[in-house]
Amino acid sequence: MSDVFLVGNGAGFSGDRVDAPIPVVRTLIKRGLPAALFFEVLGERTVALAQLERRANPEAGYEPMLERLLAPVLADCFHNRIPILGNFGAANPPAAARCIARLALRLGLPNLRIAVVAGDDVMGSIALDQLPVHEADGSIDISSARLIAANAYIGAEPLVAALKAGADVVVAGRTSDPALAIAPLVAHFGWSLDDWQKLAVGAAAGHLLECGSQVTGGVFWDPGRKDIPDPANIGFPIAEVTRDGGLVITKAADTGGLVNLSTIKEQLLYELHDPAHYITPDVVLDITGCHIEQVGQDRVAIHGLRGEPAPESLKVTASFEGSWLGEGEVSVAGPNALARAKATADVLLARLKLRGLPVRARVDLIGVASVHDSDDGALWRSYEGPEPPDIRIRLAAEGATRDDVDQAAREVLALLCCGTAGTGGARWRVTPRILTRSYLVLRERVPTSITTRTAAEIAA
């Protein structure tokens, strides 16, 4: 076996660029080294939304872009022995496997082996109210909320088993993001699942790659300050890992974006809290001794990673039906826009009070202050800068019933006739909200299993 293994990333979230995997796979093939490709598409709430879709349609509830993501690369990966792993099974891995099987048959790949990982879905099998609540989640009131989904973040072990069983595609639901990178490394190099130093390298590779382009220039580029080549075509990342735990991050060839010390630092710290304790189901990663080195164009080596034993407990994230959110927006522009916008904001809040709608509301003046502001509009109310040429007024209202927030949002619509001079462009919508709360559960209470069958068998 070769001493270097490549792990490519094809997606960093559900909604990512669907053409991103193509140059990654092209690069993996061209390099001629053993390799794997993974897709990370499952945010904290995504699985709950998927569970709601599955309730409405038993064949839904997996990554909606799955076929689009895999169609251009599945045959190349199969013929070049590049296994694909993904949490694209979301709330319905068996249906995702059927989708992939249909695609494989269409591509003339009846022998493609598809593994389905089960066990992450613990709804009904574990009583949540007996479990300790994960830090910082204790204050969320879920006393009267209805459970939608409960999934444990499972580690690399079942994914490794699937790869060792010869799977070409591993379909998982909730896994830890780094596990998707750790598993092919463990399967290839034969690392032990208690070799904490090696698993730390795998976890760091997974953490750096899990958000796709975020390590190659996405969410990094800042025109004139931090420029990157061709932001319309950012290359997705590839990790080069050696048997002894060397790690270099690079990216797909002939693409835009870049990999340098700055992109690595931003992503290394992304969603990290204590840098000495980045907890994954497989290892606790410590980056406090980490240093990095540019070793070529778009190539950065990561040194000094340390691992500590995996935690005894896994994180379970449960999602509950929440309240309702109503939003409405209108615009004003031109002379006296700021005064008209502020007056509109005050009138909207006065209307909600006048009608006695039981909602919690906020107004943003987009173009003055919005995303950095607070619910009471502290920033836009104290704004003393130049007159903005164009302002969008946004009302957001949360309440217990759909009707209450719909009525609140419709107050924005009413401004088309009742609003200030030159008010236009109304939009409004009402959406259900989801509450999440995380718990800790002993890992032995979350057994996992895999089922591996060919595309032809699944489709039969």
Partner: protein
């Protein structure tokens, strides 16, 4: 010494977990690291987010990477599931941090 926004000296990325945000702060030049360590204190960053109800700020120093990680509690108005903010994840908050000003020797400003 001149007063400049952190934006002229460093870059940042924000992430979220529940009602807690983390903000990296990464100076472009290693020489700026001790200066930022002295001036960009937990208290100043907490004050920057006081209007949003932030309750606690913890700074983790990474001298080998020349980077800082600020973890700010209760800053996301309930987090993505409860916030009325357009940006419930708080991804844009990195640029609020970068608007904070510091005093630095003129020769260290690009």
């Amino acid at each position: 010494m001149i007063e400049v926004p952190l934006y002229d000296l460093a870059h940042s990325r924000a992430g979220d977990k529940g009602n807690r945000a983390n903000l990296s702060l990464i100076p472009y030049k290693p020489e700026l690291y001790p200066i930022l360590a002295e001036q960009v204190t937990e208290a100043r960053v907490l004050a920057l987010f006081a209007h949003r109800g932030a309750t606690r700020c913890r700074r983790y120093d990474l001298p080998l990477l020349h980077a800082f990680n600020f973890v700010v509690d209760d800053v996301l108005e309930g987090g993505v599931n409860a916030s009325l903010n357009l940006d419930g994840h708080g991804k844009t908050q990195s640029f609020r941090l970068l608007a904070l000003t510091v005093q630095v020797p003129r020769h260290l400003v690009p």
